[in-house]
């Protein structure tokens, strides 16, 4: 019986899951929470170990931005998605913060708005397969990233 279940589990993995979590990032501890949720979902989706940590690092980066670059924080939504034999994780980070005046500049390595190391966003772009950013000064910012992996 146990064997049977195990076998089924191995053959039809995570592609069947449909799950999402929302983490509000208004305090610094929420960054670690977002990171943990990202890890859990990536593992549940059957992501390879490196991919799990790369998604978690991206989420950490986005959550840090929400905490340090906005006054009211923001929201991170992580969703398991699938498409033609692929399973993916979609991460949306949105805020009603000050917005990014020059998105091109923010996407440059070494640029930082607050004396930080910079390169957070370009780093996220390289860690993920899809990257989309919309930002309007005075209204806020929405960043959508996806990472894909073939269903095993």
């Amino acid at each position: 019986m146990i064997k049977h279940e195990q076998a089924r589990h191995d053959n039809q993995p995570a592609c069947l899951i449909r799950q999402f979590v929302v983490v509000r990032v208004t305090e610094e501890i929420h960054i670690a929470q977002a990171q943990r949720q990202a890890k859990a979902l990536a593992r549940a989706a059957g992501f390879r170990q490196v991919a799990v940590y790369q998604v978690a690092t991206s989420v950490s980066e986005l959550a840090n931005n929400l905490f340090f670059h906005t006054t009211e924080g923001g929201r991170i939504t992580i969703t398991a998605i699938r498409q033609e034999g692929m399973i993916g994780l979609e991460v949306i980070a949105e805020d009603r913060g000050p917005g990014i005046p020059d998105v091109k500049l923010a996407m440059q390595d070494g640029f930082s708005a607050n004396g930080g190391l910079g390169g957070g966003l370009p780093g996220v772009k390289r860690l993920m397969d899809e990257f989309e950013i919309n930002s309007e000064v005075g209204l806020g910012t929405r960043i959508m990233v996806r990472r894909w992996q073939a269903c095993r």
Partner: protein, 124 residues
């Protein structure tokens, strides 16, 4: 949460095993600089075995800590970086960690001693 800093002969050893907040990072840097000054330690080994996610914010905190420790005369080595962390940092694109590094505490200890004796041999 306070990060312990231990003295072993001429070195200070420390291991980061908590989620590093901004406040923790600042406290840690303060403690490191003071401990180096107080003990006259010649080197500092920072173990990051327990960190499975290192983003640009943490990388920055580590770089700053190392720079501060060097300013008060200690050689700095980071050790124990998880392979996945190394892969992620390289993928992210730049020299995010600008500090000498070693595989584990054992190698980190040796590397710190080598850096210290190299410094002593330097003329002037």
């Amino acid at each position: 949460m306070k990060i312990p800093i231990l003295q072993l002969k001429n070195l200070l050893l420390t291991s980061i095993q908590v989620e590093l907040t901004d406040r923790d990072a600042i406290d840690f840097q303060y403690d490191v600089v003071h401990k180096v000054a107080e003990t006259g330690a010649e080197g500092l080994v920072i173990d990051i075995t327990a960190m499975d996610v290192v983003d640009s914010f943490i990388a920055r905190a580590l770089n700053e800590t190392a720079r501060m420790a060097r300013l008060v005369g200690a050689e700095v080595v980071i050790c124990g970086m998880q392979p996945t962390v190394a892969l992620t940092l390289v993928e992210m694109g730049r020299e995010l960690i600008d500090v000498e590094s070693a595989l584990n505490l054992d190698h980190g200890f040796e590397k710190a001693q080598r850096l210290i004796s190299a410094k002593k041999r330097m003329p002037g």
